[in-house]
């Protein structure tokens, strides 16, 4: 049992930190929700170092994994500094292509992903199929050499700057609902595809754009079908385990907590100093223990990741992280009295950033599986309790 990083791990972490120090500009920083040219450029620089394809074979543009935890260390450092992390392109799309797609498709797309050429949108959700992806209705009708699609998707978060869609569509309406979905790669320029913007709440300039995507007799060549027809639901479920691991890092929450402590140490309201108030001291202390637990659960997940997919640990990380994020944003605002509600201006301790964090804290509790879903995963996979949600366990293909 060794909680210390190895010399090799420390050396790599230093390399990442040095890269961030050199390449990180204010334009790169910001919410993970917003993609900008500066952020794309930053990721491309990482790609040139081989950091996107770590662990994938070289013939597909990959590079050897220096050691098991490299990808995690990379993401944790990126997350801590507010840089874009290695996310769905590698975690969901490249992993699935690598495991199930044809050799041709691997050769076409994997090198592109690992070079960060062309952005991707995950185009799954529909108005009546959010958490319940098995209920997708948007049809892809098999026309022989191509599939034809008419319908819509919503909450598609990168659609307004993507080149490709990683898209789930219903290919067999008569099969049991989980057995009639397929995955396709769809060129964003395909005729018949159009967008309408939506946006999250937030201050002007900090909101996150997402999209509705409409299809009108859009044609997808059969060659763009990923893996086997009607196996899409299982591909999505398997990828969730990878993705959940890829998107988690507790580092940014620790950083935010540290910022609050720093503010707290120096806060002075016309002579009244919160630091002298035993009540808020204990509130911050309690939160410190809960934040520390988050780093511990993260440690569990990454240690397990050296041996197997840490699905349960990732679910814990997700549930704890979202819960703490919420509690923590509440606490931060409470500490500030009425100033917590400010959305900017000189009296707003973090220029309104904390208020934004509070507003979106609930989103983190429900997004990407959500706290309740994560707990159900823990209950079923770790504790062996019977299925409650009506969701299928990951079935055999």
């Amino acid at each position: 049992m060794d909680f210390d990083w190895s010399p090799e791990e420390i050396a790599f972490r230093e390399e990442v930190r040095e890269f961030i120090r050199t390449e990180m500009t204010d334009a790169v920083k910001g919410s993970i929700f917003i993609d900008t040219p500066a952020r794309v450029e930053f990721v491309t620089k990482m790609a040139r170092r081989g950091w996107l394809g770590m662990g994938f074979p070289e013939q597909y543009g990959g590079s050897p994994n220096p050691f098991p935890l490299a990808q995690f260390i990379l993401n944790a450092e990126l997350d801590r500094s507010g840089a874009p992390i290695i996310g769905k392109n590698v975690g969901t799309i490249a992993s699935t292509i690598y495991h199930v797609a044809s050799e041709e498709m691997k050769m076409e797309f994997l090198p592109m992903i690992f070079r960060n050429e062309g952005q991707w949108a995950i185009t799954y959700t529909e108005p009546n199929a959010g958490t319940d992806l098995g209920s997708l209705q948007c049809r892809a009708i098999d026309m022989g050499d191509h599939f034809e699609v008419t319908g819509m998707k919503h909450y598609i978060t990168s659609a307004h700057f993507c080149r490709w869609h990683w898209m789930a569509l219903r290919t067999d309406p008569d099969a049991p609902k989980h057995k009639g979905i397929s995955i396709f790669i769809v060129d964003h320029d395909t005729p018949g595809l159009s967008l309408s913007p939506m946006s999250t709440i937030g201050r002007e300039g900090t909101t996150h754009r997402t999209n509705q995507v409409f299809f009108d007799k859009m044609k997808i060549p059969r060659s763009r079908l990923v893996g086997e027809v009607n196996k899409g639901f299982y591909y999505m479920m398997e990828a969730l385990d990878y993705e959940r691991f890829a998107i988690l890092s507790f580092a940014s929450r620790v950083r935010r907590y540290t910022k609050i402590v720093n503010w707290y140490k120096n806060a002075d309201f016309n002579g009244e100093r919160p630091i002298n108030d035993p009540y808020t001291r204990r509130a911050l202390a309690r939160m410190a223990a809960r934040v520390e637990v988050g780093t511990m659960l993260e440690r569990m997940a990454i240690c397990k990741a050296q041996y197997e997919v840490p699905a349960v640990e990732a679910a814990m990380n997700k549930a704890w992280g979202a819960t703490i994020g919420d509690e923590f944003a509440q606490l931060a605002l409470d500490l500030m009295g009425p100033f917590g509600g400010l959305w900017g201006g000189e009296h707003s301790p973090f220029g309104g950033g904390l208020a934004d964090e509070h507003l979106m804290a609930g989103h983190a509790r429900v997004a990407a599986g959500g706290v309740d879903t994560s707990k159900a995963i823990i209950a079923r996979r770790l504790l062996g309790l019977p299925n409650a949600l009506g969701k299928p366990e990951l079935p055999q293909r």
Partner: protein, 384 residues
């Protein structure tokens, strides 16, 4: 004992509800947020005046309706349901009441009918740069100079300061860092030396920093006695706080209703999400809290109307209503899933107000300290 509304109250509630349904749509609220300079609607204010609402608590001899705080609570809860932006709270509850309680006969005769007629709007200039809400923290100085007062200092979170005609200012005239030595002054918003700066908030309402730089106000601006401002203000402030609780409770009930309706209708995994035990638990917990907050608020109003010492009840009502509205806006939004966080989604109007309501007019910690003073330091323990 009976908690049913009286016929008059039920009628008032129905009229208010219908008016709000008609005039205070989500579109209206969004327009006030974004396009209105004032942050409220003068036309609507005139309609309030026509219906007599602006004088709901003003004695009949000054053209008001002379109704009780409990009646006012019934009305303002409907405004809260529709998160209606207006200077009603500080004009028709706080200012009207404090003038009626401590104003001179001349002030009453002049100012109260103006309020009833919708001719004058008041803003409340109290909070300064402090995490708390205590009178001890007020530093804005009013210096007597001949027959005048000269004001220097800053007030924060002055709602509708730009649209108001008069500022109800709590100023320090005596001992520093004390409950004593405060004085209430009615200051013309257009006095020389007053400048305002918008303080942006999550609810996109109109809160201002108001800076006073050698602002001269006449002696007639004095409301009540010199150095006795807190004694004059506190009872009326309690009424305003209870009215505010009713407003936020109304908002909470409405949001809870939207979430409940969504839970009944939204189907996932082949059944309404409202069938899930966790969703049922969230909604049941919140409705209990809302009923509790609502009853506590009405009970406090009842005690105040009876002239009883109600400081502890007010504090409990405020602390609990504040936590409730924060909790209800957050958890209800989560029931909508990702949609609950989209700008296009109307319930986000409520979400953006929840935490701010919770922190307004003294945060929970301030009111908890008041509760502690009442139950630990003041009330004798009676074991029956």
């Amino acid at each position: 004992m009976d908690i049913k509304l009286t016929d008059d109250q039920a009628q008032l509630q129905e009229i208010a509800s219908k008016f709000m349904d008609k005039h205070c749509s989500f579109d209206f609220v969004r327009k006030m947020e974004k396009e209105s300079d004032l942050g409220f609607c003068r036309d609507m204010w005139r309609q309030f005046a026509e219906m007599g609402w602006l004088g709901i608590m003003v004695p009949e001899k000054h053209d008001g309706m002379g109704m009780s705080l409990l009646d006012t609570v019934v009305l303002i809860r409907e405004l809260g349901r529709h998160i209606c932006p207006s200077p009603f709270l500080f004009t028709s509850v706080l200012a009207a009441d404090v003038i009626a309680q401590v104003g001179s006969p001349e002030q009453q005769a002049e100012l109260l009918p103006q309020i009833v007629a919708g001719e004058k709007i008041y803003a409340f200039a109290y909070q300064e740069y402090s995490r708390f809400f205590r009178p001890e923290h007020i530093k804005l100085e009013a210096k007597k100079s001949g027959d005048k007062y000269v004001l220097n200092g800053s007030k924060l979170f002055v709602e509708f300061a730009d649209g108001a005609d008069t500022l109800l200012v709590a100023a320090r005239t005596g001992e520093a860092n004390s409950q004593d030595g405060l004085t209430l002054l009615l200051v013309d918003r257009n006095s020389a030396g007053i400048s305002t700066k918008h303080m942006p908030t999550m609810s996109r309402d109109r809160h201002y920093q108001v800076d006073f730089s050698n602002v001269e106000v006449p002696g007639s601006a004095l409301l009540g006695e010199l150095d006795k401002g807190w004694e004059a203000l506190e009872p009326s402030l309690h009424k305003a706080v209870i009215a505010f609780c009713a407003y936020t409770n109304g908002a909470g009930f409405e949001m809870h209703g939207y979430a409940t309706q969504y839970a009944r209708e939204r189907v996932q995994f082949g059944r309404p999400i409202g069938q899930m035990q966790t969703i049922q638990g969230y909604l049941a917990q919140m409705i209990m809290e809302l009923y509790g907050a609502d009853m506590l608020t009405m009970f406090s109003a009842f005690q105040i109307d009876k002239g009883r010492h109600a400081r502890g009840y007010v504090a409990k009502a405020k602390a609990f209503s504040a936590d409730t509205v924060g909790h209800v806006m957050d958890v209800s939004s989560q029931i909508f899933g990702g949609m609950g966080y989209m700008e296009e989604q109307d319930t986000t109007l409520y979400l953006r107000r929840g935490k701010q309501y919770q922190l307004a007019l003294g945060g929970t910690e301030y009111w908890e300290d008041v509760i502690a003073e009442e139950i630990i330091d003041r009330e004798p323990v009676v074991l029956t």
